[in-house]
Subunit: 121 residues, 2 copies
DNA sequence: CTGTATCCCAAACGATACTG
DNA sequence: CAGTATCGTTTGGGATACAG
């Protein structure tokens, strides 16, 4: 008997709208990317400087998903060398309040886990 | 050269507080579990009924992580059969506004992707 | 500069069986 | 009822090389 694949399971977003939202912004880097986009348009390599830990590959993938979900817009300048600018769409803008709240919550509470980490080392 | 394991990389929560918050509520089921906890205390099997897609194992793991991060409290009644109640801690309560916003956003915008899914089938 | 493609290891997860 | 342990598969994601 084959195990269920991802496609077989229809996540019940009806029952859990929170799950739907998290599915869009909960990706490993999406929250951070969106946060930086609040300040304005960003280029590919700008993201890499802002998030040194993200790999080339992951940045591409995460941006693609956000684009696919209609959260960000990708503007390509047809020139050499290429230039691509990412920005929030109108739909993306509606996420800004949530991102901001998460930013503030993180600022206010990130101490907790650091304290726990200290003890662990 | 050994590939970096998860432990080797210290995520820079300093630079990205959003990342820290998402690390806590962004788990596959955490948002949903927290959402249901807003209404009040829940038992293990209540969660299973509320989220039929979550497996026994995953429910345990996600609850453990939330407990470890100080977001939820686990109250064990020493009796047979066992009874365990989960509830939000004070810290967990501070997340409620964020969860609520994600719930509302999901309700309002979940139509988008469904439309895309229709076309895909 | 901004990607895409491939390979491959590590982590996540489901299924299942067992326990107090 | 509410878990834990183990196993095997699937997925995530890093490193690297190549391309327009």
């Amino acid at each position: 008997m084959k195990a269920k694949t991802k496609e077989d399971v229809r996540p019940d977003f009806q029952a859990c709208p929170v799950e739907y939202t998290l599915d869009i912004i909960g990706g490993k880097w999406k929250g951070v990317l969106l946060y930086h986009l609040i300040e304005g348009t960003k280029r590919f390599n700008e993201f890499r400087k802002l998030c040194p830990n993200i790999t080339h590959r992951m940045l591409t993938l995460q941006l693609r998903e956000l684009e696919r979900d209609g959260i960000i817009h990708r503007k390509v300048y047809q020139q050499v060398p290429p230039k691509v600018e990412y920005s929030l769409t109108d739909l993306g803008m509606t996420l800004v309040p949530i991102i901001r709240m998460m930013k503030e919550w993180g600022d206010r509470h990130k101490g907790h886990r650091e304290a726990a980490d200290e003890k662990a080392e």
